[in-house]
Subunit: 209 residues, 2 copies
């Protein structure tokens, strides 16, 4: 009998996440951490090869208390993680503004829409309305497959869920309406190749003359 939620099948050379929280407290909010490492390694490669300039935004922190053990050294002694109001990644590729977030699921059947904050969807809606390229990078750990999910497809399923339809996007939708991102050594996760092959050929930038 097949297990419903087996553990992720990671590539052997996958870096081990170094950050907090410790393993026993792992929850949904840091499931995407090694995926984010892969994307950051990819972005470093794009930057070095002058292909694109894409950065991860710093994690927003609510600072409550700061000490000054020395005049020029501030030590933060009480702070909390804040919910980001936008996506984690943005940048510029071939003059186009690109904006995306990374999501990971252990499920082999679908990714729950609860993984994606409504304000992130709203942000991507604004970006695409302004002429930017908005998308998600979704990692199905069970299959060890990465997908480029255009905002338009995400939005279709999000809007349907608000009308009472299913609260997740089926794996089959990724097969049919998203684009597989090649995983290799360098660039690690070549999502720009998807933009080159599938997005730009039919992209109408609204704002440009």
């Amino acid at each position: 009998m097949a297990l419903k939620y087996p553990g992720p099948k990671r590539p052997i050379n996958h870096p081990i996440p170094k950050k907090e929280p410790p393993k026993k407290l792992i929850n949904k909010s840091n499931m995407g951490q090694t995926l984010e490492d892969d994307v950051s390694i990819t972005n470093d490669f794009y930057l070095e090869t002058k292909r694109a300039v894409v950065y991860k935004k710093p994690t927003p922190i609510q600072i409550v208390h700061v000490n000054y053990p020395a005049r020029n050294k501030a030590k933060i002694t009480e702070a909390y993680y804040k919910v980001p109001s936008t996506t984690d990644f943005n940048g510029i590729y071939k003059g186009f503004y690109i904006d995306f977030d990374c999501k990971e699921t252990q499920s082999k059947t679908s990714i729950p829409l609860s993984n994606i904050h409504p304000h992130q969807i709203e942000h991507l809606r604004r970006i695409t309305a302004a002429g930017g390229i908005g998308f998600l990078i979704v990692y199905f750990a069970y299959y060890n497959e990465h997908y480029y999910l255009p905002f338009e497809v995400l939005n279709k399923y999000y809007l349907a869920s608000l009308e009472g339809e299913r609260k997740s996007i089926p794996y089959q939708v990724f097969k049919d309406e998203a684009y597989r991102i090649p995983f290799s050594y360098n660039p690690r996760l070549d999502y720009l190749s998807v933009i080159d092959n599938h997005i730009l050929p039919t992209f109408n930038i609204k704002g440009h003359k």
Copy 2:
């Protein structure tokens, strides 16, 4: 006799900065704080009126220690401010990627180039090379004047300083080669009007077809 460095002449309704460090520890790194408030208020207005989507990136924090007083609550108990590797603001306007930082000076004669980190100049260089619009918003507190300084002008003076020329950009250069940003109620600091009137008419985007 005129004073050489009188205090800043701020608009009466200027919000008081709320964040750390406390007043007695004010240093160059938070001189731009109320300027950043003005820019953030402007960006909120642009967002609400669907004119542009521009955000300030969160301040990067190096987290050293986190406690978990409850399973779902992470409390950061030791952390430090990191030097940002990019600029503070980026976003999209009319389909164009825009990227900038804010700088403030009390001087009435020039802004020292030491106010601008070399990695910020390098970042803006990459952005403009990729087809983005890069600039600084510079506030001369003595005159209560804001200027849009195109990256190209900043770069000219930066490169000259590396060759032994002066280590600052004279106020007169702002009069001659930068653009005054109108300050009003809403939008507070209408830097997009400068882009409309002075940048886009001659802008050649390199990457776009």
